[in-house]
Symmetry: C2
Subunit: 118 residues, 2 copies
Amino acid sequence: MTKRKLNSTFTLNESFLTECDLTYAVNKIGGRWKILIIDKLSDQKLRFSELNKIFPLITERMLTLQLRALECDGLVKRTVYAEVPPRVEYELTPMALEFLPIFKQLSAWGNKHKGLTK
Amino acid sequence: MTKRKLNSTFTLNESFLTECDLTYAVNKIGGRWKILIIDKLSDQKLRFSELNKIFPLITERMLTLQLRALECDGLVKRTVYAEVPPRVEYELTPMALEFLPIFKQLSAWGNKHKGLTK
DNA sequence: TGTGGTACGAACAAAAGTGTAAGTAATGAC
DNA sequence: GTCATTACTTACACTTTTGTTCGTACCACA
């Protein structure tokens, strides 16, 4: 996505951290809007503009970035139709589909404990 | 942790985002070292200095911040012993223990797909 | 000729997260 | 009195992430 300086402690630590399968997994869904996007795509293909309407607060730029990251991580498949005006559809990959049951548990956990700090 | 400006779009979006149970849950473990800390605490209490030794790359400041955040979110319990030199022990709360099985699945998913982008 | 819709891209700015380097309190051991 | 130990705290700098604003290509259609 954005260019990074190599050899910064930040980056070095990142390498160390992603050696952990758990951290690796969480990093993949760590972007601000990624989870919501995956959730919406869980049972349907959606176009860029449709996602944009579903999440009015996300900017086009952010949506682009998050989708690109998801695509890059192999969680989302991007299909471009050579039409005018352009049409691009996004859908989950099998790898992402395997994530969904975990999502449900996470969601249940979140729901159970939300607001009950302590 | 750090003070935030209210009313920034960033903060407003955060409110919107954490309405989603899923995003809420992921945010709780989103800090850079939180997952590793929880993992280490999964079967034992540990002192501040012990955690620091386990993760040589984390700075004391970061360790403090992450532990404070975890405590604030009700995932970690902090026990201070009135001794000199000070002794502070950290352990998981029941809420965090409920997270562990999900962690295992996340970890398995990460292990399966790591390196297999696409 | 001009307008409209789609899915972006680029330049910039703001905010948050993370790392660096130093310092602190309390007290028991020497 | 000095030093060592533990668990921090503070001030600052740097990196990444997120948001703002503007602009683009393409062609159908009016």
